[in-house]
């Protein structure tokens, strides 16, 4: 019985003239978005790989100079786009792409593509993800809002139910029929797009790509299911078709547009981020006065006896390493806690904001889905933070290596702090710092962070299904 209801629903929708238009537009947009996304993604990745290779080579070929000067010349980390960025570009337009790693300073990733875009870019990206997040639910609503209300208005509901079909069978049948249509449109495009992409040239980084795609598909099916059952629930509950439509469109606009922005503002108010100027001034003054209130120069003087003692020395002359390099490294380390505090404060506020926004997903399913989608595409905040952390770890290691080298190679020059400047390093020495490579943390860590979002989607689906079952149970056969 369910199957024949589903078949009837399916063919009725497919034969409707409006369906061809809707499906056509949807398919066209989806394919355009995927093609454009892929074009941008591959162009970006080409430049990223080339630039990273270039900057790694520049590090080696920077010319013969003092090793510490080499650390000032530094290196750049360029952020890879994320394995499924062509489908969901996530925060990539709004996060920096290039991070300068140099002696003495921790830096932000700079070069956000959004600053080089027209302000119209703020309307959003036309991406596969955007279409599935915003347009697919509307498609479901359009196809399904008359499922019960329409039949009631045309009087066929009474006939159907009089044939011994149970309300539940009707619900499942309709769900299958409408769901089938949506899957047909979306699925075909996604598969066609995916095939075309896998045929055209080298595919993306293979960071557990299969698992990512599967989970991504699962999330969107859950999301589609939520809207499907909500639509059927409202259609069964509402007095007439137009009320059903208005309620559903209202909810769609709320979940897709209003709630995300409201969640952002609420999370900013609860976990504020300092303005750049305030943050910069705070951090730099903290750096100057020293983490514990003792300026670096003074602190080194105070601690020099202990520091020398570590090397079994009592004076500069007895040190087995060059004192200038030792001090450079100490100054570097004095700054670590300052950086950790101030950059950490930012990172925490971002993370807390994101978590709060995810939690607000309890009232709007688009929020948890969006978060999940970005995470699986590798274009989310967690990955960006990982990238920044990896760059900072690389920077510290780079500086430590050159300072250590300077300390050992210039050990005999302990005549004063300026003695080591005559030491020159060449390419062979700079090669002790390996090229920068970003290995994002595995999918597992990402999933652990996003378990809540999966649960939120499941809860939403359960609630929508429950609502639909409850609504059809008290289904009114006639208009009142």
């Amino acid at each position: 019985m369910i199957a024949s209801i589903a078949r009837k629903e399916f063919s009725e929708i497919v034969r409707d003239g409006r369906f061809k238009w809707t499906a056509g537009i949807m398919a066209l947009l989806l394919l355009t978005a995927l093609a454009a996304g892929y074009q941008k993604y591959s162009a970006y990745m080409d430049i990223q790989r080339m630039s990273q290779d270039q900057t790694n080579a520049q590090w080696l070929n920077q010319g013969d100079k003092n090793p510490h000067a080499g650390a000032h010349y530094g290196n750049y980390a360029f952020k890879p786009a994320g394995p499924l960025a062509f489908f969901d570009n996530g925060i990539n337009n709004y996060a920096g792409t290039a991070l300068f790693m140099e002696a003495h300073k921790q830096n932000f990733a700079i070069g956000r593509p959004a600053t080089d875009q027209s302000s119209i870019g703020r309307f959003g990206d036309l991406s596969g993800a955007m279409i599935l997040q915003l347009l697919m639910p509307l498609l479901i609503i359009f196809l399904g809002f008359t499922a019960f209300s329409g039949e009631r208005e045309s009087g066929t509901l009474r006939q159907v139910l009089s044939m011994g079909v149970s309300n539940r069978q009707l619900l499942w049948g309709k769900a299958l029929g409408i769901g089938g249509v949506v899957l047909l449109i979306v699925g075909l495009c996604v598969v066609a797009g995916g095939l075309a992409l896998s045929l055209t040239g080298p595919s993306t980084e293979s960071e557990s790509l299969g698992a990512r795609v599967t989970l991504m598909a699962l999330s969107y099916v859950l999301y589609g299911g939520i809207f499907l059952f909500l639509t059927l629930a409202v259609s069964a509950w509402a007095r007439n078709a137009r009320t059903a439509l208005m309620v559903l469109i209202g909810f769609w606009a709320f979940a897709g547009f209003l709630a995300p922005k409201a969640a952002v503002e609420i999370s900013k108010a609860i976990h504020p981020t300092p303005a750049f100027g305030k943050w910069m001034a705070d951090m730099r003054s903290h750096q100057m006065r020293g983490f514990d209130g003792v300026p670096p120069f003074v602190r080194f003087e105070q601690e020099s006896r202990e520091i020398f003692a570590e090397y079994g020395a009592e004076s500069i002359a007895e040190l087995p390493v060059y004192v200038g390099a030792l001090r450079l490294q100490k100054f570097e380390e004095y700054d670590f806690p300052v950086f950790e505090q101030h950059y950490g404060q930012l990172r925490d506020s971002y993370t807390n904001q994101r978590r709060l926004q995810d939690r607000i997903g309890i009232v709007a399913p688009t929020l948890p889905l969006r978060s999940l989608s970005m995470a699986l595409a590798g274009t989310d905040l967690i990955r960006h933070v990982n990238f920044a952390d990896a760059a900072e770890a690389y920077r510290r290691d780079m500086v430590l290596k050159v300072n250590n080298y300077l300390g050992e190679a210039a050990a005999s020059l302990n005549t004063g702090y300026g003695g080591g400047n005559v030491l020159i390093a060449d390419e062979a020495i700079f090669a002790m710092v390996p090229p920068f490579r970003f290995d994002s943390r595995g999918l597992q860590a990402t999933l652990a962070e996003h378990a809540g979002n999966f649960i939120a989607l499941m809860l939403w689906l359960a609630a929508a299904l429950g609502l639909a079952l409850w609504s059809v149970q008290r289904l009114k056969v006639e208009e009142d």
Binding site: R18, A36, A43, I47, S51, Q54, T55, Q58, G63, K65, N66, A69, Y73, I91, Y94, A95, T97, A98, I110, R112, P113, A114, T115, D116, S118, S119, I120, G121, R122, F123, G124, D125, L126, M130, L134, L135, L138, F142, G150, A241, R242, L245, I249, G250, L258, K261, A262, V264, E265, S267, A275, F276, K278, R284, Y350, R354, D380, L381, H384, G418
Partner: protein, 492 residues
């Protein structure tokens, strides 16, 4: 008769719980948007103040050192000298006497003040800093930093009043007018009304006037309340002029959506079909078309890659170093504080550092200009394509009116670029002449005052958007007006 219908419709509206709920939602949304817009602007101002205070404070400290030094020289006799190089704190003339040191280690933050209406439309001001540092560093350093904001928040966009007007207001309008005629027809009351001495056009007009009147009066009141609550510079004519423009734009935009409702209604379909058509129109005009235009702009005129710019700048640096640095140890160049006391070469290092910056500036400038020129091309494409979506026109107009447009920011940056030349000249000349900076020299530092664009320029830029909306609106009114003649009053 018309008056009866208008007042009847208005009364009906107010009695309907749904409409009252909608009005409350509009009010709530405006209040929330005003609150968040205000927070955003306050944060910007706080950031600007802190940055300015920090850098001015550092220069102030240097000035104080020179003052003390001057007093010491006066007391002990001797010559007021130029500090030869940075050295460990203690001996010698203070660093503040060395113009090269002051000019390259401190910055001056320039600020673009928000207009009185800034909280209404955040525009790009959550990404682009409204305060930029100017020093002897190359031009590209001026825009190196961005405002700190969670990228997730940037991606989502602000909940400002512009969002309420552009995204939400149409939904509210469509919700109260999508079934203007169709509901009467479905209930069978339309034929009855038209049995009275009133034409269909008059009926339609009356219904729209009632709804538009009530809603727009609400919007006007909310707008004024919002302005009084979060607007600034309320004593300036500029603010009120901008506010009037804001209201005019909002009125045009809202009327356009009312007209769309009428347009869809005259085709005589049922309410549900009207609802679908209008929701589809909203989605197309407010969401899909803008993203398509943006896609077109970035595909046709892609910005050069910042990553490529970075590697090019490094290449220039390496080349400059190999030319200028010759046998000088770069170690000193980075760490002047380690230069042995009295080492003459210290001066050379600073000179080299300056030459170096110059070389980078020259090498990178063309690349750098590439960003602005591509951005300008994108903006002009958007300007041309804005006419296919009232949402784009409205966003451009509201950014312009609030002073958060790309054009105003470019106007500010150009002033900053000019000022950088003036500012670094001041220090470069003094440094190359080895003229010691005295306390009074600090008072002669070039001052920056942001020069606002003439209001006429702003108006001129607004003309295409506002005119475009007017044309769209006229079209949307005219078509149904002509079409209404063929409306079937009763379902056949």
């Amino acid at each position: 008769m018309k008056r009866i219908i208008i007042s009847h419709e208005a009364r009906q509206l107010f009695r309907s719980g749904a409409f009252r709920a909608l009005l409350l939602m509009v009010a709530g949304a405006v209040a929330f948007a005003a609150w968040s817009g205000q927070r955003s602007i306050d944060r910007q101002v706080e950031g600007a103040n802190a940055a300015i205070a920090f850098e001015d404070g550092r220069r102030g400290k240097m000035r104080a050192d020179t003052e003390q030094y001057q007093a010491q020289v006066a007391a002990e006799g001797g010559e007021y000298q130029f500090a030869s190089a940075q050295h460990a704190p203690g001996a010698g003339p203070p660093q503040g006497t060395n113009a090269g040191v002051v000019g390259s280690t401190t910055a001056k933050y320039l600020r673009m003040p928000p207009t009185g209406l800034a909280p209404f439309s955040i525009g790009q001001s959550d990404i682009q800093l409204s305060y930029v540092p100017v020093s002897m560093n190359p031009t590209m350093y001026i825009t190196k930093d961005n405002e700190l904001e969670n990228p997730v928040n940037l991606m989502t966009g602000s909940f400002d009043i512009a969002f309420v007007v552009i995204f939400l207001l149409p939904i509210f309008i469509l919700a109260i007018s999508y079934d203007l005629l169709s509901s009467e027809k479905e209930r069978g009351t339309l034929a009855m009304i038209l049995a009275h001495p009133i034409s269909l056009r008059e009926l339609m007009a009356s219904k729209i006037i009632a709804r538009a009147g009530v809603l727009l009066a609400g919007v006007l009141v909310l707008g004024i309340v919002a302005l009084l609550a979060v607007g600034t510079n309320l004593n300036l004519a500029d603010t009120w002029a901008r506010f009037s423009l804001w209201m005019a734009a909002t009125l045009l935009y809202a009327l356009f959506w009312f007209a769309m409702s009428v347009l869809v209604n005259v085709y005589g379909k049922n309410s549900a079909a009207n609802g679908i058509a209008l929701a589809g129109t909203w989605l197309a005009l407010v969401v899909v078309v803008p993203t398509l235009v943006s896609l077109l702009a970035t595909t046709l005129y892609p910005a050069p890659s910042r990553m490529e710019l970075t590697t090019a700048a490094r290449q220039a640096q390496t080349e400059a170093e190999s030319t200028y640095m010759a046998r000088l140890s770069e170690y000193y160049y980075d760490h002047l504080e380690f230069v042995p006391e009295g080492d003459e070469r210290a001066m050379d290092f600073l000179t080299v550092a300056m030459a170096n910056r110059n070389a980078i500036e020259k090498a990178v400038r063309p690349l750098y200009d590439g960003f602005q020129s591509q951005l300008n091309l994108q903006e002009s494409l958007v300007q041309r394509f804005q006419f296919i979506s009232p949402a784009i026109m409205m966003q451009l107009a509201l950014n312009e009116i609030s002073g958060t447009s790309a054009d105003r920011y470019e106007h500010f940056l150009n002033q900053a670029y000019d000022f950088r030349v003036e500012w670094s000249e001041f220090f470069t000349v003094k440094f190359l002449q080895r003229a010691p900076l005295r306390p009074q020299d600090y008072d002669q530092l070039p001052a920056f005052e942001y020069r606002e664009e003439p209001f006429a320029t702003v108006l001129m830029r607004l003309v295409p958007s506002l005119l475009g909306m007017l044309v769209l609106l006229t079209g949307a009114i005219l078509i149904p007006f002509l079409r209404l003649r063929r409306y079937q009053v009763a379902t056949s």
